[in-house]
Symmetry: C2
Subunit: 164 residues, 2 copies
């Protein structure tokens, strides 16, 4: 196509932060449809929340038994697997894009910024909330933090308005 900018495009590495929420899945879909082009690498990144200290105690101050902790760890791993699987399915139509997946433990804000930096990513894509309403109350807005701290361009995609 004459004058098509895509001829000038270089292959890029796009990190998409995915989580349990529908919003990050929407962000991924939007990116695949509107930004990702043939040859690009899309890295699906899930930040697995670390087991924080107080999670080893229940409300009464007793330590959880090792059984409970093992169950919690198993649950955490299952969530990570489910998130990555769902995101991978979302990418199934984009056969021209190279797909990588990455699960890293830690505060999502740190995990995302560090991964983008380490990979030398060309772009970061994420939902505007990031990591759910409850976690956001503790962590502050993940997207705000990343937009301020990541050097590469950051695309923040919000959930579309509810249709009902």
């Amino acid at each position: 196509m004459a004058g098509d900018n895509s001829e000038e495009r270089q292959v890029r590495k796009i990190v998409v932060a995915v989580d349990e929420g529908e919003e990050s899945n929407h962000a991924l879909s939007w990116c695949l449809k509107n930004v990702a082009a043939a040859g690009d690498t899309v890295v699906l990144l899930y930040a697995q929340p670390p087991r924080v200290v107080y999670s080893a105690m229940d409300g009464t101050g007793y330590l959880f038994s090792s059984d409970i902790i093992a169950t919690m760890e198993k649950y955490s791993k299952e969530v990570a697997d489910a998130v990555i699987q769902k995101a991978t399915r979302t990418c199934s139509g984009a056969q021209n894009v190279k797909l990588e997946t990455k699960v890293e433990k830690g505060d999502p804000r740190d995990v995302i910024c560090e991964t983008v930096e380490n990979l030398g990513a060309d772009m970061l894509v994420l939902g505007s909330h990031g990591y759910g309403v409850i976690k956001r109350a503790f962590l502050g807005s993940v997207s705000n933090h990343c937009a301020q701290n990541v050097k590469c361009p950051v695309l923040i995609v919000k959930s579309p308005k509810p249709q009902h």
Copy 2:
């Protein structure tokens, strides 16, 4: 190209907020190279700061003369013209993109959010600082505000690291 996502792409309206700084020009270039595709409309939007009340007085509390005010208004218009001209030149290589320009008076945060809404834009692109370090001190971060208040996806592009 088999499996090229661009076949699924619809024509989009992309608003790019431009200002006096190099960063917004970089954001525009990055958008043209990495996001804008054939048939898209790119709207170059410049928010012209309004003449605020206290600007009609000098430091001693005397009203500026009408001459001074006329000079200030002329300067403000010249800045707007220069910004739009520079941005238009940046777009000169992207012949497949439809170009529109828009100058609106007001607080850039309001102008950008309202214009994006009124145009039903599919995407907003802007630099991370927006409107200069000094104005940012007064206005807060334009990009943060827009990322929180605009419904469509927002792409924040930072200046590349200084090369020297």
